[in-house]
């Protein structure tokens, strides 16, 4: 009994200490916004790695999700004779919820896990230590550019997701199922509000970008420098970031749309 209590306390303390370390790391990295001379090339490289290389998975998923939404929406709405509302339904669900959330989840799997594994392996092979001994802060050189790349990429990816998704919806709804194109767009335009829907969706994506990159980078930086340690850290990145995205999404939705 005492042993179990002790173990519980120990785990609790460890978790708290890790949380503290992660905040310190976040603070230090945010202080280092990439400077033009050294930082920008590193940031660009990471933007390519984290953002551009995630494009394919984002575009393909966006397309299919938009198509499915449109198809499902049509089969339900056609019973009430209001299939023109498909455009509005597809756009609203994408912009408000699905784009930030699904893009965030895909981003965690595609880019987050890669970030964790990369930084973890650098730690295990003492590359971070040797960089420290050369007199270069790895937080500045390795962690900060990846952080900023993540923050910048996910909102953009999420917007691309929305656009491609709406196009997918259009393909299925208008070109295949024969909804009148004019009402598809008109309903969408009338229903989607820039501030309430689009902006809130972007805010969500920014928050998810922070959460995922922070978790990914911290797990890599703080991992146990062995092969099991890295594999554990990568798993944790995907699990923690997916759960946090879903949890934070609920909170944000309640805050943004709760009183509507």
């Amino acid at each position: 009994m005492i042993d179990q209590l002790q173990a519980l306390g120990f785990t609790g303390l460890n978790k708290l200490a890790a949380l503290g370390r992660s905040f310190i790391m976040l603070f230090h990295s945010l202080c280092y916004f990439p400077n033009p001379r050294v930082g920008f090339p590193l940031l660009i490289k990471q933007l390519h790695f984290v953002g551009v290389l995630s494009l394919i998975i984002i575009v393909v998923s966006g397309l299919f999700i938009g198509m499915v939404l449109s198809l499902q929406g049509y089969t339900i709405l056609v019973d009430y004779g209001s299939e023109q509302a498909v455009g509005q339904m597809v756009a609203l669900s994408l912009v408000r919820e699905l784009s930030p959330v699904v893009a965030g989840l895909l981003f965690a799997g595609r880019a987050g896990s890669a970030l964790t594994a990369e930084i973890g392996l650098m730690k295990a092979t003492e590359q971070l230590s040797s960089m420290e001994m050369i007199g270069v802060d790895p937080l500045r050189r390795i962690v900060a550019p990846r952080f900023w790349a993540g923050f910048i990429s996910l909102p953009l990816l999420s917007m691309i997701f929305s656009v491609v998704g709406i196009w997918g919806g259009l393909l299925v709804g208008v070109d295949w199922l024969g909804i009148y194109e004019g009402s598809f767009w008109a309903n969408m335009q009338a229903a989607v509000d820039f501030r309430i829907d689009v902006l809130n969706g972007i805010i969500k994506a920014i928050v998810f970008g922070y959460v995922v990159t922070w978790i990914a980078v911290f797990q890599g930086y703080d991992c146990i420098p062995t092969s099991e340690g890295i594999s554990q850290a990568t798993t944790k990145t995907v699990v923690y970031s997916s759960l946090s995205i879903l949890g934070v999404d609920f909170l944000l939705t309640a805050l943004m749309f709760g009183d509507l």
């Binding site: 650098m122 003492e126 590359q127 040797s130 050369i134 007199g135 802060d137």
Partner: protein, 270 residues
């Protein structure tokens, strides 16, 4: 060599433990300026740990570590990175940056700490690589190097900035006799011509004795013997003799702390 200024690194009453195990127990040692100091001792006594303590990568539980008069454990992040730019360290594993080519690895310290023009960086990198015999490998990626080559590149990177203090963690391991001879000469030349302070951690007794001005023999968290090569060779205590002559039997245990062998083997059958 008695005045304080002659010691560039001073460690006093330093204690450090990993978990329950005390790696260093109230250890004191001083590294003379501009000389080659060797640190020898059985595997696992904490020689690498000692270098990391000097570099400020880990903090001691107590005691002080002064480098050029600055107390390393008390420095803040910025000061620590500033003093590290005057140290060079060859890691036991090499620790090259795997995403950079050999050229970029050696150029890395030059690029981050100096504003030298590109052609000068190129010349410097080629000179450093030439001195470790790997100018031909300049285009390769670290994954394409052998273990011994990777360490030599890492050595070239460590000396790229001509730091005041050079720490070599096992520079000779995995080198063929020719490379070994070259490296011994290189360390000696760097020390004599440029006046670097060098700390060499090594098990290769012959090579180390041939370059070291002063030797510390560390075991069980203490300095068990120190002195010049002659003094250590003349030492009669059994521990020192055993280590210097590489005898398996003697007071220095070959085995890591463990329960009795026979008991362990018999215990497994119960």
């Amino acid at each position: 060599m008695d005045s304080l200024d002659d010691y560039i690194i001073e460690i006093e009453g330093m204690t450090f433990s990993r978990g329950e195990r005390a790696i260093f127990d109230n250890i004191s040692l001083r590294i003379p300026q501009g000389k080659v100091t060797a640190i020898m001792g059985p595997s696992g006594t904490g020689k690498t740990t000692l270098l990391k303590l000097i570099g400020g990568q880990i903090r001691p539980d107590s005691g002080c570590i002064r480098v050029e008069g600055l107390d390393i454990p008390k420095l803040n992040r910025g000061e620590l990175f500033e003093i590290r730019s005057r140290m060079g360290m060859l890691f036991q594993s090499g620790a090259l940056f795997s995403d950079l080519s050999v050229f970029e690895n050696v150029a890395f310290p030059l690029r981050v700490h100096t504003q030298l023009p590109e052609d000068m960086i190129r010349d410097l990198v080629f000179m450093k690589l030439q001195s470790v015999g790997l100018r031909g490998a300049v285009e390769l990626m670290p994954s394409e190097l052998s273990g011994g080559m990777a360490r030599r590149v890492a050595l070239a990177r460590a000396i790229a900035l001509d730091p005041d203090i050079l720490m070599y963690d096992e520079p000779f391991t995995g080198q063929d006799p020719i490379a070994m001879g070259v490296l011994v000469k290189l360390i000696k030349t760097l020390n004599k011509t440029l006046g670097h302070t060098s700390i060499v951690v090594s098990h290769d007794i012959q090579e180390t004795l041939s370059i070291a001005d002063y030797i510390y023999l560390v075991a069980d968290g203490h300095v068990v013997a120190q002195g010049t090569t002659q003094e250590l060779l003349a030492e009669t205590s059994p521990k020192v003799k055993q280590f210097m002559q590489g005898l398996p039997d003697g007071p220095v245990p070959f085995h890591f702390d463990a329960p009795d062998y026979l008991q362990d083997m018999l215990g497994g059958e119960q």
